[in-house]
């Protein structure tokens, strides 16, 4: 039981969080979180509302903006308890990306208008960064915003908009100045997804799910006050935002929950000889190996937390969390597929029907969709380059 969190204050904090979740998390939300990948905004939003009414809507935001005032350890314990209880994950786009960017760079008016919707779980965001010819290489993006009186007029095409079809608002990176070097001429805007000139196109992914989208912006008019921060500083805001996302992307609490679920699967699912897989020493060795690597990842996360407790900002070290965290997420579901065997490759008829065997539900979709975790939010190749250049000075 020896641990960073093993103080009486933190133990009682954990107990308080656990009791609240136990009392307020609807069983159907937990079931949906276990079974599915792409939760409907109703589920995410309603849980967000429940947390927000308790004052826990955005633990990592400053107290003044609606945060909880918890230290980083408490925030981590909160995340962990939510994960272990299969509570719906908080909406990354609003809580981790749009919100913090508005808090850091937005105007007072923007914060007043937009933060409450995120906290209450009633307004959803999407991110308009990538373009068909600008994936990892954002500096080459082509979408333009030109001034027209009180408004900006945006034209272009964005892609990989996670949950764009469920979003009310988009933060969007567009070129406002052609005359400077590529990174310097970009600005960020808040775009209403119902504005005329916006058309969405779903992108189906290999998990047979619809969570990402392409969007076309055809003379979309955006009020001047929707510029975030200063013009031509959009690149800086984007970089800060991606760094924040990388820390979150270690996804340690959810992976902890997944490895526990893997053991439950191995205890319940029979191998070819009819005995539970967990009776097989090779399976046990495999799960123990995953656990060891998880403990290594979690230790690195805890080190970053301890640094944050000591007042240091997460720097490029967070890249190692993204790399190892995403790799481990993939290995967990790869292991699940190996354990499931045939049960992992037989689906219900009808596109998107999911696996037939209840034991496989959730695992197969996660396995397929998680090919993305080493690609998105700055691919692991980009992260390695960041480490080599920024930290190692190569």
């Amino acid at each position: 039981m020896a641990s960073l969190f093993d103080t009486s204050e933190l133990r009682s904090f954990r107990a308080e969080v656990r009791a609240f979740i136990h009392e307020h998390l609807p069983a159907e939300f937990a079931a949906k979180t276990r079974a599915g990948l792409h939760l409907h905004r109703d589920v995410v939003g309603r849980w967000q509302g429940i947390l927000n009414r308790r004052g826990w809507g955005a633990p990592h935001w400053p107290l003044s903006a609606g945060g909880t005032g918890w230290d980083t350890y408490r925030r981590y314990i909160f995340e962990e308890e939510c994960a272990l209880a299969d509570a719906p994950p908080g909406d990354v786009l609003g809580l981790f990306l749009a919100g913090p960017m508005l808090i850091a760079a937005g105007s007072e008016a923007q914060r007043t208008r937009y933060l409450p919707g995120i906290l209450a779980g009633c307004e959803f965001w999407c991110q308009g960064f990538s373009e068909p010819n600008a994936g990892s290489d954002l500096a080459s993006l082509k979408t333009t915003a030109r001034r027209d009186g009180d408004h900006w007029v945006i034209n272009g095409q964005k892609t990989w908009l996670t949950e764009g079809h469920q979003a009310d608002l988009m933060f969007c990176l567009a070129r406002t100045d052609d005359s400077v070097k590529p990174q310097a001429g970009l600005s960020q805007f808040i775009v209403d997804m119902k504005a005329p000139g916006i058309s969405l196109q779903p992108i189906l992914t290999m998990d047979e799910g619809h969570s990402v989208n392409a969007v076309f912006l055809d003379n979309v008019r955006v009020p001047g006050e929707n510029l975030i921060g200063e013009p031509n500083r959009g690149w800086t805001y984007a970089k800060e935002l991606l760094t924040r996302e990388r820390t979150n992307n270690a996804q340690a609490p959810r992976t902890k929950r997944d490895i526990i679920a893997l053991q439950r699967l191995a205890e319940a699912h029979p191998g070819p000889d009819g005995r539970p897989l967990m009776d097989d020493p090779i399976v046990r060795d495999r799960l123990a190996g995953l656990t060891a690597d998880f403990v290594a990842l979690e230790s690195a996360v805890l080190s970053v937390l301890a640094d944050e407790m000591a007042g240091r900002e997460p720097g490029p070290e967070a890249s190692i969390l993204k790399i190892r965290g995403s790799e481990l997420q993939q290995r967990v579901t790869e292991t699940a597929m190996e354990l499931l065997g045939e049960a992992g490759v037989v689906l219900e008829p009808g596109y998107g029907g999911g696996p037939r065997d209840p034991v496989a539900r959730g695992w197969v979709e996660r396995h397929l969709f998680r090919r993305v975790v080493t690609i998105y939010a700055g691919s692991n190749e980009i992260q390695r380059t960041i480490i080599a250049r920024t930290i190692l000075g190569m």
């Binding site: 065997g341 045939e342 490759v345 219900e348």
Partner: protein, 347 residues
Amino acid sequence: MLLDSVRRYFRENRPPDTRWARFGEGQRQPPDAWREMAELGWLALAVPERLGGLEADWDTRLAVLREAGADGRPEPLDVHLMLSDLLLRCLPQGQEEATAAAIMAGDMRVGVVELRPRAGPTGGNALGGESGPVYGAGASHLLVLVHAPGRGCRLAWTAVEGPGLSLQQGRFLDGRGCLTVRFNHCEPRWLDASGHHVRDLMAAGLVADCTGALDGAFRQTLDYLKQRRQFGRPLSDFQVVQHGMAEVFCDLQQAVALTRRLAREMNAAQGSACDSLPAAKAFLSRRLLRGLGRLIQLSGGIGMTEEYPLAHYYKRAQTGAALFGDRGEQLGRISPVATLLGSSGCG
């Protein structure tokens, strides 16, 4: 020659990009494809000459299956190319000719399914209980591999539309059709051959098929990387991208070589199970699948989408890895000394 015509047919008849771009509608078999394949003579490849077939060697059969994998074809060519002659050998003499003719005409479609009675052998000779998935979309007849604890794996043969069977539609992970069967006192014909042998033949077919899938995915990715520009130059200019592709190429070359070796060994053993099969299937289930994952990684987000081929190849290989003996099971069959000394005749 044959392979050229196979490639040409695949290219001209619903090539993968047209199917995959509309995957949301389901991975259906083109209705006429099977009959066309029969007319092209492909279904005669595994039928003995004395029954009017072409009696192709295993190199040819596995090469055709590689092409089918590379093209992501939904039709279960592998079942017919791997098993037709074995099936015909097992039937009573009177039925051989009619069955051969039906197979070659595309009228009889064979599926393979495993039945693992959990609670000991079923009573008498009837089949009961729920089976695993039927491999071989659109099957009219089934080869049932009946695993009886302590009694090995026996082989049974039954029509799908007979009494004692109920069927449920399903799909494999890669969208190919599959059925689940419930047997309820089904009385099949019991065949005089080893079910293990059928499993191994199917597994060998999957090795060829999935090697084709990796091959198709590799070529697609290589083209893409040469065209796609990031940071002002083609992705194929980046050293880590080059080395990543070189790594996958190593695994692809090994998979191709393994497929060739299986064919050679099966030719020499006249179609009986071959020494290298467990190793080849285990290789498919780990390295070949990882190679496909790596190609998706190198391609970036587009590799994840349904309209692009990579994800389909990946799911096909994932399906192949799970069926007819997964990695753990195949490794369990390998005894290093026996495999190493046996496989090259130096024991």
